[in-house]
């Protein structure tokens, strides 16, 4: 059985991984072909992702299913394909936004509260400015670009998987038994109700400062997070703008992102801006992910700002649809249209 996967981002690569893993466990003989129009893996919006595997923090502003599915992603990225570091997440707020942090704590679980000493023990560079924080100990983070490169490498090493880069899938004959369309926003013309939500990020280097885990700063209008990368840089993200402009980082957004870093520690003012980037998050009207089935074609899409958090649970379900004809009403809809419309 040939399964063609279109798109080598977080959704496509995890789907390939889960298909091969489950087929092996079931003793089924399958071949997986991953077709990507770019010249390498993870070049779409995955490239700009934060890489936080933070199901409980996300519960602050998402529906409960995101935390439920996200808990599976923690296992995937720390055990099944261990590229994430489990160092927890820290949530803080400037003193004036303390009410927002208290509100955050009321809407989330799985955290402990920290005072200045507690913060100093985890992230010494933050203790000067913060005396109250929430610590989500069981959460993890990964470096998106490295994680997808490793995943692609692991897949390429398997005898029954092929990766083809620089190939436009529409030029291929429709000869696969199943097709998993994981193109993200590029699938918009074929997916009713898919919209883009713009996000912008920057990467900074601040040799004098050390962060060892993701830090979220609560803010009434511009919540921001900082995620340390293995090369010593820090990713600061991400704006959320309801438009579909892929590549244009605005001055206002850079000011907001830099300001937040500055509020964490004023020494960030002298950090080097290494990169700015933007893309759109593929999203349905409820901002929840979908496996949409059209015969023997599955669309995995709508992962919104949760590409790494929701791709493993979506991938494992898609694999079971293909291999076992399973059905998952909580994330699936048929080609009749959307499960829920705005």
């Amino acid at each position: 059985m040939l399964i063609r996967i279109i798109g080598a981002g977080a959704a496509g690569l995890t789907a390939a991984f889960e298909l091969l893993r489950q087929a092996e466990a079931l003793g089924r003989d399958i071949a997986v072909e991953i077709v990507e129009k770019a010249e390498g893996p993870g070049r779409g919006c995955s490239h700009y992702a934060g890489g936080m595997i933070a199901p409980w923090c996300e519960a602050e502003s998402t529906e409960p299913i995101v935390a439920t599915l996200g808990a599976e992603a923690l296992e995937f990225w720390t055990e099944t394909f261990p590229v994430a570091e489990k160092r927890g997440s820290l949530v803080v707020a400037p003193r004036r936004d303390r009410p927002d942090l208290i509100q955050f704590s009321r809407r989330t679980t799985h955290f402990v509260t920290l005072d200045r000493e507690g913060i100093a023990a985890l992230e010494p560079d933050l203790a000067e400015n913060f005396d109250f924080g929430l610590y989500f100990e069981a959460e993890a983070h990964l470096a998106p670009r490295e994680a997808l490169a490793k995943l692609a490498e692991a897949l390429a090493a398997k005898p029954n998987a092929t990766l083809r880069y620089g190939v436009d899938a529409t030029t291929l004959a429709d000869d696969a038994d199943w097709t998993l369309d994981c193109r993200g926003f590029a699938a918009k013309p074929d997916l009713a109700g898919l919209r883009g939500v713009k996000g912008e990020m920057i990467i900074i280097r601040a040799p004098d400062l050390n962060l060892t885990r993701p830090v979220r700063m609560v803010h009434p209008r511009h919540p921001v997070y900082l995620v340390p990368r293995p090369d010593g840089t820090i990713m600061v993200g991400a704006t959320m703008v309801e438009n579909e402009e892929r590549a244009r980082v605005t001055a206002q957004s850079v000011v907001e992102l830099v300001n937040s870093a500055f509020a964490l520690n004023p020494a960030f003012a002298l950090a080097e801006i290494v990169e700015t980037g933007s893309d759109v998050r593929p999203s349905f009207a409820d901002n929840l992910p979908r496996i949409r089935r059209e015969g023997r074609r599955l669309f995995l899409n709508g992962l919104y700002r949760h590409g790494f958090l929701l791709s493993p649970p979506l991938a494992s379900r898609a694999a079971r649809v293909v291999l076992e004809d399973a059905h998952f009403p909580e994330v699936m809809d048929e080609d009749r249209g959307q499960r829920r419309t705005a």
Partner: protein, 259 residues
């Protein structure tokens, strides 16, 4: 009870106007709008437009609600930005209505009264029907009415602060000075009781965004505000009793046994 509201000749039954930003998702926004029974939604354009009006996806969802759109100039800091955004809004939503915001201060998101009056003059002269987001200052109200505004939208408190009616005295004075101009409380409300209070003071409508969008359950909160608005307005029309210092027994004291 037939008690319509009139904005620039448009008659509305609902006295609650609702903002469309910061919801967990457009689907929850749509459900909250339905629960609020609002007829008017306000939409921001400035940042969403991007380089090439790339906000069409979201604006399309707003149009699909079928509600009357009051576009706003949120995020504009200069007269020129606000006027340009108003022009774009008129084209995108085919409406003369514009909720005019010229922000003067980042910490309080306070209106810049000077820029507001200037932008209001320009837009009124161009035929826009302007809904100015303002402080409760009486002289500012005078200037805006002179400029041609026939609806005024004073804040209750800074945007998103949830503090309720900060200056009841000032708001009463504004109501007394302009008994015939529709006055809408715009920004600063957090709890439904605060919306009721605005209506009890005689305000004609309230506009909300954060209080609903950031509530734990936006849809339930939208319904709570709808009820509170109806309660406050009904109470105002029913003429509340004057507060007094001494008790007023509801049955005569004289003649009761043992007094």
């Amino acid at each position: 009870m037939n008690d319509p509201l009139n904005f620039y000749g448009v008659t509305l039954q609902s006295r609650l106007l609702v903002g469309t930003s910061q919801y967990p998702s457009p689907a929850i926004l749509a459900d909250a709008l339905a629960a609020s029974k609002t007829e008017v939604v306000t939409v921001s354009l400035r940042r969403e437009a991007g380089g090439s009006r790339a906000g069409e996806g979201f604006w399309g969802l707003i149009r699909e609600t079928g509600l009357r759109v009051l576009p706003n100039t949120a995020g504009c800091r200069t007269v020129k930005e606000a006027v340009t955004t108003a022009h774009m809004a008129r084209e995108l939503f085919a409406t003369k209505w514009i909720k005019l915001e010229v922000i003067g201060d980042d910490d309080l998101l306070a209106p810049d009264p000077f820029g507001l009056v200037e932008a209001a003059r320009i837009l009124c002269d161009e035929g826009f029907e302007v809904f100015p987001y303002m402080t409760e200052d009486l002289l500012l109200a005078d200037r805006l009415v002179e400029a041609g505004c026939r609806v005024l939208m004073p804040w209750a408190a800074p945007i998103g602060s949830g503090r309720g009616l900060n200056n009841v005295f000032g708001l009463r004075a504004l109501r007394a000075r302009y008994p015939d101009i529709p006055l809408v409380i715009d920004a600063g409300l957090g709890a439904p009781s605060q919306a009721s209070q605005a209506f009890e003071l005689g305000f004609d409508a309230v506009l909300l965004n954060t209080a609903i969008a950031k509530a734990g359950d936006p849809v339930a909160m939208a319904r709570a505000f709808a009820l509170a608005c109806e309660a406050g307005r009904t109470a105002y029309k029913a003429l509340t009793i004057e507060p007094r210092d001494m008790a007023e027994p509801s049955t005569p004291v004289l003649g009761r046994a043992f007094t």
